[in-house]
Amino acid sequence: MSRRAARERLAAARAMVLLVSLASAGCAGLRPNHPPAAQTVQEPAREAQPRTTQVDTPVSDKAVSDKAVSDKAVSDTAMSDEHVGVKPMGDAAQTQAVATSTKPSTAGTLATPPCTCAEAKPKPRPRTKHKHVRKAAPAQLSTAPVVAETAPGGTVVAEVRSMPVSVVSILGKRVRGPKGEDLGRVVDVLADASGRVRIAIIDFGGFLGVGNHRIAVDWPLLRFDPSSAEAPLVLSVNVEQLRTAPAYKDNPRPQTLMEPDAKAPPSTDPAPEPKK
């Protein structure tokens, strides 16, 4: 019981810290579109562990000595909205990912920070005076992509460089089927607690805006054309499946069109997915 209470307090504390950090991040994450230009403000990534520790401090003092419980609390925080009895769409990353718990604004109350998934380069942070440092935390962070984020109440030294790879804007991008048929547009992109993109919301069908159908599609189902930034994305599913898929509902674990096992990493192989 006290653990539950502690977890709730932890959740509240984390939410506060995230709000503060978002506020201090300014409006960078609130722009409707990120231009696909090469110039990107890249924060030197740092391990998120000190920030987590900062939040955990009051709790780990008192009730939660067990690391596993603490980790669960953190990942629960990310999914703290009510669970609506749908198929959970997570895999291993969901329980491991503790780097950050931001979510896209459509799935919760927080906006996504600019998701510059930089390589984890542990640079020394300006302020590292924390009394309680949890042991063994960095080890598990190495598996999850680290999202650069401004520390609560502080800034990191950012620098402007060209993006080493070319990038494309996703919002509004056309989606076509394997035979070139028009399947609609990407209207939203959802990331999981670790900041990894998991779902594309595709606006499908309709006529003049009447009868559109928004469908959540597992990110690996979308194929990118590396040769052209203008090329539409290719979604290798049967139109029939897209048509009968349930409409996307704004909840933390949406019903998602995905491969049967849904563990496959994104591949560039344009082979059609197995049907049904």
Binding site: S169, G206, L208, V210, R243, K249
Partner: protein, 408 residues
């Protein structure tokens, strides 16, 4: 005779104006959401833009009606509204940044509210109070043709050219609309002495509160609100079913939009005539009772072809409702000096019904089933029918009054 020629040309001009305005309004429909998605807008911003449009049109209904009452030249109001449409379409097309889009939504919302009373007022000037039913039948016919043609044109444009081109097309269509106003300008000046807003040339206006508190107007407003509440989400629910069941959903949805317009175009003049012959209540009953019938049939079938066919009833309901709104308001308030204000008040009720119902029906469909939503809407539609049957008085002006009031 010069006078007859003028009024015939004015009548034709008004036909054309209705047609082009309906064309233009198609461009400002739900298609905006598709266009903004294609411009990398987030769902949140799109929702905000559409809400701004809804709120500004709701808020300006009544004030815009009052404003049009005060303007002596309704043709000028109509021309100005159409020009505003052009500006707002161009803002969408040229530079869809949030500030412009929000501003364009506000402009469009307000000018829609000045345009429809202006059209009704011009109709009243051209046709007079006793030809109003016929005139409104013609208005509805040409508006339906405009809607159907506009949907086809803009659907093709969005599909084969680009989403942006739809808004250039919308802006371009304002030019012929302005052109059709030219003969009306003369008619409005010629008809200045039989201005419909006054009871008699020397008489004072009735106090606006007495007009708005008229029992007939209030009951009709409630009827219209209930009807719209039940009617507005139907297309959304049907197209959801069609998307899941049909083989070519986009085409079927297009058919669901265009078919009722064809029926409206065919039936409107007859509806207008019948309204003069058999009275308003009968037509209102006929139109409103289509709605529960439609709900029942939709709940009973899942066959895509049948779903589209049942939409024909929407055409009948649409023809009756579209003609009855300005007609009943002109019966009640036509000579009080507050015709447009009253029309705005009814428009406000209709707006409330339409705004509240889509989320309500969506909630029912999500949490229970589409069929439950249809039954819910059927109950509301039946309530509207009952309200007409038991509370709504006949508003058709009596023929004895004809000779006394008819202009010499």
């Amino acid at each position: 005779m010069l006078e007859d020629q003028r009024s015939a040309r004015a009548s034709l001009g008004l036909d054309g104006f209705n047609l082009f305005v309906a064309n233009i309004q198609t461009g400002f429909g739900p298609f905006i959401a598709v266009y903004l998605s294609s411009q990398s807008w987030t769902q949140t911003s799109i929702g905000l833009a559409l809400s701004i449009g809804t709120v500004s049109s709701m808020a300006s209904q009544v004030p815009a009606g009052a404003l049009v009452d005060l303007m002596p030249n309704k043709t000028r109001v109509a021309a100005f509204s159409v020009l505003t449409f052009m500006v707002s379409a161009l803002m969408f097309a040229i530079h869809p940044i949030p500030l412009f889009v929000y501003f364009a939504e506000v402009l469009h919302g307000i000018s829609s509210c000045t345009l429809s009373p202006a059209i009704a007022a011009m109709s009243l000037v051209i046709a007079g109070r006793f030809g109003m039913g016929l005139r409104l039948g013609r208005n509805a016919r040409y508006a339906a043709i405009g809607n159907g043609v506009g949907a086809a044109l803009m659907g093709a444009c969005g599909q084969y050219v680009s989403e942006r081109a739809v808004f250039y097309l919308t802006a371009a269509l304002t030019l012929p609309a302005l052109f059709t106003l030219l003969p009306l300008r003369r008619a409005a000046v010629a008809g200045a002495e039989l201005r419909p807003a006054r009871r008699l040339p020397g008489e004072q206006r009735t106090h606006y509160w007495r007009v708005l508190a008229d029992r007939r107007l209030m009951i009709f407003c409630a009827c219209a609100m209930l009807f719209t509440f039940a009617n507005a989400p139907m297309l959304m629910l049907i197209s959801g079913t069609l998307t899941a069941k049909g083989t070519n959903p986009s085409l079927l949805i297009a058919a669901c939009i265009v078919l009722p317009q064809i029926i409206v175009a065919l039936a409107s003049p007859a509806v207008g005539r019948c309204a003069e012959r058999y009275g308003r209540r009968a037509i209102l009953m006929l139109g409103f009772s289509m709605l529960p019938l439609r709900c029942l049939l939709f709940a009973a079938t899942q066959n895509p072809t049948l779903l589209v066919a049942v939409q024909a009833f929407d055409g009948i309901a649409g023809a009756c409702f579209g003609i009855m709104v300005p007609l009943i308001v002109s019966d009640v308030a036509g000579r009080t000096g507050h015709f447009n204000l009253s029309l705005g008040a009814v428009g406000f009720g209709i707006g409330i019904g339409g705004t509240l119902s889509t989320p309500a029906a969506g909630w029912l469909a999500d949490h229970f089933s589409t069929r439950t939503a249809f039954f819910g809407l059927m109950a509301v539609g039946a309530a509207a029918v009952l309200l007409v049957a038991f509370a709504m008085p006949e508003t058709r002006p009596r023929k004895e009054a004809d000779d006394a009031e008819k202009p010499p």
